[in-house]
């Protein structure tokens, strides 16, 4: 059996007295779409922070693509192919949409100590960037400044920026946050198209999305994994139903 693309073991992080991650173990195979769900305060955003490298764990290890990245800095992890989107949109607000994506392409194409040529005229940066914009349906808005884009468009751009670096693993932190019904549906359709090409770890609140997209689901409660498996098994799991689905879904299932 091949080694999983991402292998998390015993990952632990406390903030003061709160245990945000309690010995989390998680495997993600290449090509799968793995969702992490859990009620508010379950430690989902902490998990993304730990995986992206913004938060240092107290214990445990993260292996990515066969190497230990537990102590590797954020930008190095990104160079290794671990890209992310942010829950609260985090873009270069005074750049155009295309410049945002082109900078991500540039980041993956070696160092940027080039001081003279006009970077906006380099096809090697612009063309892949336009493709990424096209992939999320934003090609028509390429030259609009980010702060002029609608919230939905900014969410799409988040994905395009993450995709532009041709990542091996895409960490998606609540991509549906703040989207209306139509926009959500478009986003789900887009992510479904991406499935298979890119391995995804999807953190999401919205159950419909999760069950529509995920190959496997991990349920997090108070920083602990209480269940992990394919959607049907998770849906049937008693502990999950009690701890999480209980409040909203138990009556309907």
């Amino acid at each position: 059996m091949t080694e999983p693309l991402l292998q998390v073991d015993g990952l632990t992080k406390r903030f003061g007295g709160v245990v945000a991650a309690d010995a989390i173990a998680l495997d993600i195979a290449a090509g799968e779409c793995h969702a992490v769900i859990g009620p508010n305060g379950a430690g989902k955003t902490t998990l993304i922070g730990l995986l992206a490298g913004e938060i240092a764990p107290e214990r445990g290890s993260i292996r990515f693509d066969g190497r230990d990245v537990t102590a590797v800095a954020v930008h190095r992890r990104s160079q290794l192919g671990l890209a992310r989107s942010f829950q609260i949109t985090s873009l270069f607000a005074d750049f155009t949409a295309l410049d945002n994506v082109a900078l991500a392409v540039q980041a993956r194409s070696g160092h940027s100590f080039q001081f003279w040529q006009d970077a906006r005229r380099q096809a090697a940066l612009r063309e892949p960037a336009l493709q990424a914009l096209d992939a999320v349906g934003l090609a028509a808005r390429a030259d609009a400044r980010v702060d002029r884009l609608s919230h939905g468009e900014q969410r799409q751009l988040e994905i395009a920026v993450a995709l532009a670096g041709k990542p091996r693993l895409l960490l998606l932190d609540e991509p549906m946050a703040g989207l209306g019904a139509d926009e959500s549906a478009r986003m789900v359709a887009m992510l479904r198209r991406l499935k298979g090409d890119v391995t995804m770890l999807l953190i999401e609140h919205d159950m419909e999305t999760v069950f529509a997209l995920a190959d496997r689901i991990t349920v997090l409660v108070y920083g602990r994994v209480i269940a992990s498996g394919d959607p049907l098994a998770v849906r049937a799991d008693a502990a999950v139903r009690e701890a999480y689905l209980g409040e909203q879904d138990a009556r309907h299932v």
């Binding site: 890209a83 005074d94 003279w116």
Partner: protein
């Protein structure tokens, strides 16, 4: 006709000549014609005033590179003016009058100082960065005060301008003026190329959203440091020019209020716009000059004017023409 077009490569877009482009163009044309005016009227003062404007514009252009484009608000930029000036003055005092030695030394020492300051300061953020750059500038200020041999607190008159082996003669006021003018144009061109290059986009990305920059795989520190060093060297050159222009160096040229003046010029003109620092410097120095002719108390008007600009004019003078502010 077709061939002529081809010779130009890309045809200029129709929107090129906008009010926003017209103002800096006009300013540059006027700056280029000042010596003609001075020769016609026999009034050398215009050369002195506008020469000073050009030199400080270079310093402002350099500050704008880090502060406007890179988001690194240095409150110690006058230190580089001083270091550049002292490099010229000290070498002169020690018998080395050649500009081919003095000026590269001015640039190199300033750049080196910027390297040290940047390496230590770029770890801090926001107001702390403003203050630590100020602290380093104050250190240089006190060092200069302690340089007894080079005038100490009182400063030192430089007995001769940098010599360039007959290529340009800086003792000729017009030649000195046009050299400053050429270097101003060159520094604008340099910054224009820089900020649109791959390097420049990283720098602006770091200003805009450092967290995102890391997330796409770039640690901004090295880029910011290099940018800081380039700006330091450019400002050092401006200091070398200033020493030649006034024939005088003193610690006062790097007192913190001088750094404040430079910041004012850049913010007044418009942060992160190419010609903003030029417009800001011209406006600030001409306003000072004009007011000091009509009133004994120019500060009574300049001060409130700056306050009003801070309150009402987002984006400075360039902002008036639709340039977007980059905070």
């Amino acid at each position: 006709m077709k061939a002529a077009r081809k010779a130009f490569g890309v045809p200029l877009p129709a929107s090129w000549f906008t009010p926003r482009a017209a103002l800096p163009a006009l300013v540059l044309v006027i700056l280029g014609l000042v010596p003609v005016y001075a020769a016609a009227t026999g009034d050398p003062f215009a050369l002195t005033l506008f020469g000073r404007i050009e030199i400080l514009s270079i310093a402002a252009v350099s500050l704008n590179l880090i502060m406007g484009y890179g988001g690194m608000a240095s409150f110690g930029h006058a230190a580089y003016l001083g270091i550049g000036g002292y490099a010229v003055g000290i070498l002169w005092k020690e018998g080395i009058a050649s500009g081919f030695v003095q000026w590269p030394a001015a640039i190199a020492v300033s750049a080196l100082f910027a390297l040290v300051v940047g390496a230590l300061s770029l770890r801090t953020r926001g107001v702390y960065f403003i203050m630590i750059t100020l602290a380093f500038a104050q250190m240089v200020y006190y060092v200069a005060q302690g340089l007894d041999r080079y005038g100490g607190d009182d400063g030192m008159t430089i007995g001769g301008r940098s010599s360039f082996a007959g290529i340009v003669n800086l003792n000729n006021a017009t030649q000195l003026y046009y050299l400053c003018f050429a270097l101003l144009l060159a520094s604008l061109f340099l910054v224009w190329r820089l900020v649109n290059s791959r390097f420049g986009l990283i720098i602006q990305g770091a200003r805009s959203n450092e967290r995102r920059l890391r997330a796409i795989g770039i640690s901004p520190f090295r880029y910011k440091l290099v940018c800081f060093v380039i700006a330091g060297g450019l400002c050092g050159l401006s200091g070398a020019l200033l020493a030649n222009h006034t024939n005088f160096i003193s610690p006062a040229m790097m007192y913190w209020t001088r750094s404040g003046d430079l910041m004012v010029m850049v913010i007044l003109g418009g942060l992160g716009s190419l010609f903003g620092p030029l417009l800001g410097t011209v406006t600030y120095l001409l306003l000072e000059e004009a007011l000091s002719r009509v009133t004994e108390y120019p500060g009574l008007f300049i001060g409130p004017a700056l306050l009003l600009v801070a309150i009402f004019m987002h984006g400075g003078i360039e902002g008036l023409f639709g340039a977007r502010r980059r905070d």
